[in-house]
C-alpha cells in the first residue's frame, strides 16, 4: 500500500521509531473516537426528534452548533498546543467530549441535549489540532502523506464503529445507551499519559524561543499578519470547500434513507459502513493535486 522506491534504504513502516508510532497512534485514537461520538448522533437524529417531538430542522441545528463550537475549542487547543505542548490539549479534549456525550445520554429535555452536544463541539474542535500536530510532527517526512490519509480517513473508521454499534445495539439500548457508550474513548487518555512524548521539533522550537527571548505568545494573532496572512486565508478557503462537499451528503444521508426512502436501522447501517474506510493519501503525487485520484 505504501510507496516503494528503489533508492529507499528501508521500507516506509520501519522508518519511524517506536516513539513516532506511539505519537501517531495517540493522534489517531483521539480522532477516531472523536468521530465515533460525533457520528453516532447523525444516525440517531430520527429517534431523537421522535422522543422529544421536535422537527428535523431542530436536530440539524444541533449538528450545526456542534460544528461551530469546534472553532472555539480548536483555537483554545491550538494556543495550548503551541505554547504548552501537543499532549496536554489532546488529553483534555478527549476527556471533554467523552464526558459531554455521556451526560447528553441522560438528557431530560431537548434543550439539555442541545447544550451538551454544543459543549461537545468544544472538545471535538480541541482534539483535531493537538492530535494532528502531534501525529504529523512526529512522523518522518517520506511517508507523512500516507499516514495523514490514514489518520484523517479514520474519521470514517469512527463512523464505521458508530454504524456497527447503531445497527447491532440500537434495538437493545436505544439512543441513550449509544450515547453512554461515548464515555469509552476516555480510556485513550491513560495511553497518551503513559506512552506518548512531545515531538522533538516542538521541544527544540520552544527551547529556542525561550533562549532567544522571542516567544510567540499569541500564535492565533500572528497567523493574520505578514508573512502568514495569505497562506492562512488560502488554507481556510480550501478547508471551507472541503467541508461543504462532505457535509452536503454525509450529515443528512442517513436521514434521507430513513425518512424519504423508509430504510430500517440495519439497512441504513450497511451503506454507511461500506464507505467508512480509512484511505491512503499519495506521497508521490504531491499535496496540491490529491483530488484527481
Amino acid at each position: 500500500m505504501g510507496p516503494t522506491r528503489v533508492d529507499a534504504p528501508i521500507v516506509w513502516w520501519r522508518e519511524p521509531t517506536k516513539d513516532q508510532w506511539l505519537a501517531w497512534v495517540a493522534g489517531w485514537l483521539g480522532w477516531t473516537l472523536d468521530a465515533f461520538d460525533f457520528t453516532i448522533f447523525l444516525l440517531l437524529l430520527v429517534p431523537i426528534t421522535q422522543e422529544f417531538k421536535v422537527p428535523l430542522t431542530a436536530a440539524a441545528l444541533i449538528v450545526t452548533l456542534t460544528l461551530w463550537m469546534r472553532l472555539l475549542g480548536a483555537c483554545a487547543a491550538g494556543w495550548m498546543a503551541d505554547r504548552l505542548g501537543r499532549r496536554a490539549p489532546l488529553m483534555l479534549s478527549i476527556a471533554w467530549y467523552s464526558l459531554c456525550q455521556f451526560i447528553a445520554g441522560f438528557s431530560p429535555t431537548f434543550t439539555f441535549l442541545l447544550v451538551m452536544r454544543t459543549l461537545l463541539g468544544f472538545g471535538m474542535g480541541a482534539e483535531w489540532p493537538a492530535g494532528a500536530a502531534l501525529a504529523m510532527e512526529s512522523w518522518p517526512e517520506r511517508s507523512r502523506g500516507l499516514m495523514s490519509g490514514v489518520l484523517q480517513g479514520s474519521w470514517n473508521l469512527g463512523f464505521l464503529l458508530a454504524s456497527i454499534a447503531y445497527g447491532a445495539l440500537f434495538d437493545l439500548i436505544g439512543w441513550r445507551g449509544l450515547f453512554w457508550m461515548g464515555i469509552l474513548p476516555a480510556l485513550a487518555i491513560v495511553y497518551i499519559r503513559a506512552f506518548v512524548k512531545e515531538p522533538e521539533v516542538w521541544v527544540e522550537c520552544q527551547k529556542r524561543q525561550r533562549e532567544q527571548q522571542r516567544q510567540v505568545r499569541a500564535p492565533l494573532v500572528r497567523i493574520f499578519r505578514s508573512p502568514l496572512l495569505g497562506n492562512t486565508l488560502s488554507a481556510s478557503w480550501w478547508m471551507i470547500s472541503s467541508f461543504v462537499v462532505y457535509y452536503s451528503i454525509n450529515a443528512l444521508f442517513a436521514t434521507h434513507l430513513q425518512q424519504d426512502l423508509r430504510f430500517t436501522p440495519a439497512q441504513v447501517a450497511w451503506p454507511v459502513a461500506m464507505t467508512s474506510h480509512p484511505g491512503p493519501a499519495d506521497d508521490s503525487g504531491g499535496r496540491a493535486v490529491p483530488a484527481d485520484r
Binding site: G78, S148, A281
Partner: protein, 114 residues
C-alpha cells in the same frame, strides 16, 4: 456522481452510488493534517491548522441547516444535498490553485515569525 443516486428512489442505486462516492470522493479529505501542518512554521502550527480547519467546520456546520431549509422549501432533501456538493467541489478546485506545493517539507524548529 452525487446526482446519480440522490435523485432516484431505487434503494440499490442509492446505496451503490453512496458507496462509490465514499470510496473515491473522500480522497479530498486525506491530506488535511499533512497539508495544513506543512504549510505553517512550528511556532504557530497548532493555532494555524486549528483555525483553518475549523473555519471550514463553521461553514460545514451551516450546511446541514441550509440543506434541511432548502429541502423544506419544496426542493426535496436529495436535490438540496446535490446543490451543496456541486458548489463545494467547484470552490475546492479554485482554492487549491491559490495554495503552495509542500511535498518534501522537513519540519524545522527554526524561529520563522517570532
Amino acid at each position: 456522481m452525487a446526482a446519480l443516486y440522490l435523485l432516484t428512489g431505487d434503494p440499490h442505486l442509492v446505496v451503490g452510488g453512496f458507496i462509490l462516492q465514499g470510496a473515491f470522493g473522500q480522497a479530498i479529505y486525506w491530506l488535511n493534517p499533512v497539508y495544513l501542518a506543512e504549510r505553517f512554521p512550528t511556532e504557530v502550527r497548532g493555532a494555524a491548522s486549528a483555525f483553518c480547519y475549523h473555519i471550514g467546520a463553521i461553514f460545514g456546520g451551516a450546511v446541514p441547516l441550509a440543506v434541511t431549509l432548502l429541502a423544506g422549501h419544496g426542493m426535496g432533501l436529495a436535490t438540496a444535498m446535490l446543490v451543496g456538493t456541486v458548489v463545494g467541489a467547484v470552490s475546492f478546485c479554485l482554492a487549491l490553485l491559490t495554495g503552495p506545493e509542500t511535498r518534501g517539507t522537513k519540519f524545522a524548529p527554526d524561529l520563522v515569525v517570532a
